[in-house]
Amino acid sequence: MQRGGRKTVPCMDNIDTLTIEEFGRRLRARDLTAEQATDACLRRIEEDNPRLNAFILVMADSARQQARQADRELAAGRDRGPLHGVPISIKDLIDVAGTPTTAASRVREGHAAAHDAPVIVALRDAGAVIVGKTNLHEFAFGTTNEESAFGPARNPYDVSRSPGGSSGGSAASVAAGMALATLGTDTGGSIRIPAAACGIVGLKPRHGELSTDGIVPLSRRLDHVGPLARTVADAALVYYALRGGISNPATSGSHVVAHSWGPHVPSSWGPSSAGSKLPAPVPVSSLRLAVPRGYFCELLEDDVRARFDEAIDRLRAAGARISDVNIRHAHLIPATYLHLVLADAATYHGATLERMPERYTPAVRLRLEMGRYVLAEDFARALEGREILRREVDSALAEHAALLLPSLPIAAPLIGAASVQVGNVTEPVRNLMLRLTQLFNVTGHPAIALPAGRTRTGLPCSVQLVGGETDELLPVALACEPQITGPAPPRSGGPGGG
């Protein structure tokens, strides 16, 4: 069947908007198969990856085998849960056994992962289908996915623009219908930034919740792994599968209800069913949210500010109480983050910077070299600052369910842009991209980016929620999502722009 010039798999003409939830319902209603969904994703990769460069490695053969296996298992009565048969892409920073983990760098030439990273083991146990490894900013040390040994990834909304980074290929793959979800990593914002730039959801869980073993580090004290997906519910389903189950509701305080998958779904998923139950969204009218003003809101593009204000208005109209809070040392966030990440990255890269500096992309090499000059006394000052900032975020959260702020102060920047003018201020792109996300890597608080409308030129805007614990944040995000996302944009304004 031809549609708009694309060949489509029958019943899979909505692969770029299909959610994991809907896929699950239709799969179990025998309306589609895992193989059909995987074929649709692979077909979209074949058609669009030359334009978007989202993938470094497409694993078509193994993906089809996994999908057929998923269909056989389901037919035999073995249902692994919400991720059963779901096509997922993986940031090429994460080990998948038998494939290279390139980190988008020539430094890693010849590498082959001997084992699956624990997060991949969890995905396999959950029945997910791995369609391929996605492009990223080299060694995750950037915010635009421009500096990659495999060339820049591109934004599905406008290929002249960055998809954000460092998990840019991951975000582009989901936004463009090449996967239903993806795994990314986040050291300064590298899940939330590309999620924001590509109009999808990106979850950075609390630091330490998900194992980063088998993942190439940038800064182990700031690194997180987490999902990007089309909805909060989908991101939550992936997160819980990675966790291997939800926390005990008696201890988490969350009221857990079984998620409705439709009449064909068994009431019990079986031993691997952990994660099938989503936390119930709390009533929006019960929520007290806090907006950190000052530093977080003073440098925003006009359309970003307008969409953020509109989201606040919708939340208030739904009954949420929203007040302002102050993070006293906010102006020191970039300096604190910089000294931590540079020193940690230099530790990991010191030997290869000596042995094979020419294999790095030039800009990443220079930033890594910069880290080798950080003095120990200043690193120690940054560690102290980290504790101060953590207490300030805790304090801001004390009376509130979540903090509410934009995810990115600007829309996706043009590829090659070194700086962007915001009002009367010209700032380096990198500083702007990290500005609103890096604090929560420093402090470790869980944070999730949600789509929040578009600019007047059709580029995605995004709002971020930050909580105390991931189990507490997700019900809030589920509740706030309709108000934050707002009315659906015109179909013609979706990804697929040239």
Partner: protein, 56 residues
């Protein structure tokens, strides 16, 4: 080591290593370091101002 002396030494080292393009990055790092050192969470071995004797 003051930030200024650190910066001079770092730039000299970068040039010796054939990386003059590091200079603007090191200057940016120096600005960040100056800000970090100005943070009010940094302690002073002479004690906080309110701890000093009024007649000192």
């Amino acid at each position: 080591m003051t930030v200024d002396s650190w910066l001079q030494a770092a730039i000299a080292d970068a040039e010796r290593r054939g990386l003059p393009e590091l200079k603007p990055l090191l200057e940016a790092l120096a600005r960040a370091t100056t800000l970090l050192r100005s943070a009010d969470w940094n302690e002073d071995a002479a004690g906080r101002p309110e701890d000093r004797p009024l007649h000192g």
